[in-house]
């Protein structure tokens, strides 16, 4: 229940605070969301598998997010802005795999 409450509080906070994001950084935000989604579902899965480990989860979340942002940045600097697609694909694949495993536990 606690994670769900956290999600709701976060959404409300975001809607209320209305943090302005310059258009140039919208892609960074998108990739950060993908990384966060990936980590969150990974954590959920691990907790269902009873292999959840706090430290691994939290460090994984931040390193994933930062790494994703870094890939986007490097792509921008090198003129290969498509590089961020690599992160999108990697996170996307993991996201669906995690979702599949969670589904098996829940149903």
């Amino acid at each position: 229940m606690l994670p769900l409450a956290g999600l709701i509080v976060g959404i409300i906070l975001g809607l209320v605070l209305k943090i302005p994001v310059p258009p140039a950084y919208v892609r960074y935000l998108g990739i950060a969301i993908l990384a966060a989604l990936d980590s969150s579902f990974g954590g959920l899965r691990a907790s269902l598998e009873k292999t959840f480990e706090d430290r691994l989860f939290v460090t994984g979340f931040f390193s994933n997010t930062l790494m994703a942002a870094f890939i986007v940045y490097v792509g921008d600097q090198l003129g290969i802005s498509e590089l961020y697609l690599a992160a999108v694909v990697a996170f996307g694949v993991r996201l669906f795999r995690n979702l599949g495993i969670i589904r098996r536990y829940v149903f």
């Binding site: 606690l2 994670p3 769900l4 409450a5 956290g6 999600l7 709701i8 509080v9 976060g10 959404i11 409300i12 906070l13 975001g14 809607l15 605070l17 209305k18 943090i19 302005p20 994001v21 258009p23 919208v26 935000l29 998108g30 950060a32 969301i33 966060a36 989604l37 980590s39 969150s40 954590g43 959920l44 691990a46 907790s47 959840f52 480990e53 706090d54 989860f57 939290v58 979340f61």
Partner: protein, 248 residues
């Protein structure tokens, strides 16, 4: 003593924190995209265009009212001038001040400079280089003042002490009125000295001699025996400034 806390499954606290951040990111992204959509799609633009049009209409109406009222004042002044005495001399002084300030129409010999955007913009080139900008008008106007111009107008907008020439999108605002190419800059004064000033001014030179030819801008300078210039149409609302008697 053991505190009977709510039994929180292992790891749910860190999960909650991460989910909180996830929610924050999601809603921030949602907000940002909604804002971007609003600014780029037509509805907002249309609204703003409507507002601008309405305000311009209001301004024109007010300008008309102002000119009617000014005419009324003019009649009173004429009446006053017709009478003998102090009032007549005051009216005379008032008129000469108005004349100097640009509030009366004026005619006289002078120079007319026409600047226009390039007719053909080559494909693949930056179109910004092929049009007349606000600063182009400013350097020409400044050169004309420097050459002793007594009155200057651009496309019928008389320049006075508080006039500005600035860029707004793809038009140029003079006295807060939108003007479009070609720009006809008229100056009343000694034609020879005006032409000389235009010829020698270091800021005008690159425009008239260099860019104009290279970029096929429309440039035309000619002496005119009689220019008719309108009065400044707006009013000068001096709200904060006060006459400083000591500075006399």
């Amino acid at each position: 003593m053991e505190v009977p806390v709510l039994k929180v499954p292992k790891g749910h606290i860190s999960l909650a924190v991460i989910f909180l951040i996830l929610g924050l990111l999601l809603s921030t992204s949602f907000n940002t995209h909604r804002r971007l959509r609003q600014t780029t799609t037509g509805t907002r633009k249309k609204e703003l265009i409507e507002i601008v049009k309405e305000l311009e209409k209001d301004r024109d109406d007010l300008e008309n009212q102002l000119s009617v009222l000014n005419k009324g004042i003019g009649k009173f002044e004429e009446k006053a001038a017709a009478e003998e005495g102090v009032l007549a001399s005051f009216t005379k002084e008032l008129n000469s001040l108005k004349f100097a300030a640009g509030f009366l129409a004026v005619r006289g010999p002078g120079v007319e400079v026409t600047l226009g955007d390039s007719v053909q913009i080559p494909t693949g080139k930056d179109p910004n280089n092929y049009i007349i900008h606000d600063y182009d008008l400013r350097v020409v106007v400044n050169a004309l003042w420097a050459g002793g111009a007594e009155a200057v107008s651009i496309n019928g907008q008389r320049l006075i002490s508080t006039s500005s020439i600035r860029c707004a999108g793809n038009t140029i605002l003079v006295n807060f009125t939108r003007l479009a190419s070609p720009y006809r800059i008229q100056a009343i004064g000694n034609s020879a000295s005006l032409l000389k000033s235009l010829d020698e001014n270091q800021e005008v030179k690159p425009l008239l001699k260099g860019y104009a030819k290279a970029l096929a801008l429309m440039i035309d300078i000619k002496e005119v025996a009689r220019l008719d210039m309108p009065a400044y149409k707006g009013s000068v609302g001096i709200e904060y400034g006060r006459a400083d008697e000591k500075g006399k």
